[in-house]
Symmetry: C2
Subunit: 198 residues, 2 copies
Amino acid sequence: MKILIVGASGTIGKKVTAYFKGKYELVTAGSKSGDIQLDINLPGSIESFYEKTGAFDALISVTGAGHFGPLGSTTPDDFKKGIDSKLMGQINLVLIGQHYINPKGSFTLTSGILSDDPVVYGANLSAVNGALNSFVMAAAIELQNNVRINVVSPGVVEDSPGYFDAFPGHTPVAMNRVVLGYVKSVLGAGTGQVIKIY
Amino acid sequence: MKILIVGASGTIGKKVTAYFKGKYELVTAGSKSGDIQLDINLPGSIESFYEKTGAFDALISVTGAGHFGPLGSTTPDDFKKGIDSKLMGQINLVLIGQHYINPKGSFTLTSGILSDDPVVYGANLSAVNGALNSFVMAAAIELQNNVRINVVSPGVVEDSPGYFDAFPGHTPVAMNRVVLGYVKSVLGAGTGQVIKIY
């Protein structure tokens, strides 16, 4: 099985990569590191990425930035950053990747707890995560050749203590539980699932 | 109470407008009709809209287009249409409008059933609606001066029989029930609510 991991050097990505490494054929990718570099904000860069990887069996996306700041001073341009990156970046990985993925392959995206349990300053990421959760439910009923799609929605993770103050009362999630969400999506049989890890 | 209705001439908008007309001060708006014209895809046009309306008490948005078509042939540009219009158009009505709305005012947006109950060809609208639902939950905890925000999420409406075939097994929703969703948001006291009418 050939697995592509976009965002392989990130907080979650490096733990997910470590889990699959040695067991499967991996291609790692990121904006500045990994086997292949790409800019997920640019559809042309995603197209070029898949031209380099060729056919594959699983795409794991653990990438994408959002805007985090007071709603009162958030501008349309601020909001667009998360839309272009974490939302459209990941969705375009699917829209373009569906033409490269092998039958019975899987897409696994990443959203997050803010879709359901908002925090102050998090409206952009709430919107982005809510969109991703609903997108996978809908895409799952249309993908061809038994290709599956799920999204892992983690809470604030234990490896990101810098965020704890911004998530008052949230329980930091153990990284091994988060990694298992991706394992369930890739090696399990479910599709259209929001795999909540919190 | 001064109520702005964006999309006042649409299928839902005209019924909502009819309900509030005569009872409150109304300003209707649309891309081609109404008291004021605006293009919700353009933040500058939204800013100009609010400069014309001045301070207000309630904004009802019943506007925004999405892409409806096979996932397999959906391009990043296709997907972006719904993101720019129904999603960012409505969110920018809030981001910009928060600087014009009176204390204790309310924003009411429109999403739809596809966030939770997808249909074939509807992945773009599923994503857009999911984003809007999560956005209002998050924006509600940050808006100042007791300003409220809710979203009405209707099922396929009885006045749109052209959509019935695309929503197999869905129960068309009576327009008076849909209108009451907007009434609840504007005249009720709730905030951060997804008012599901289906």
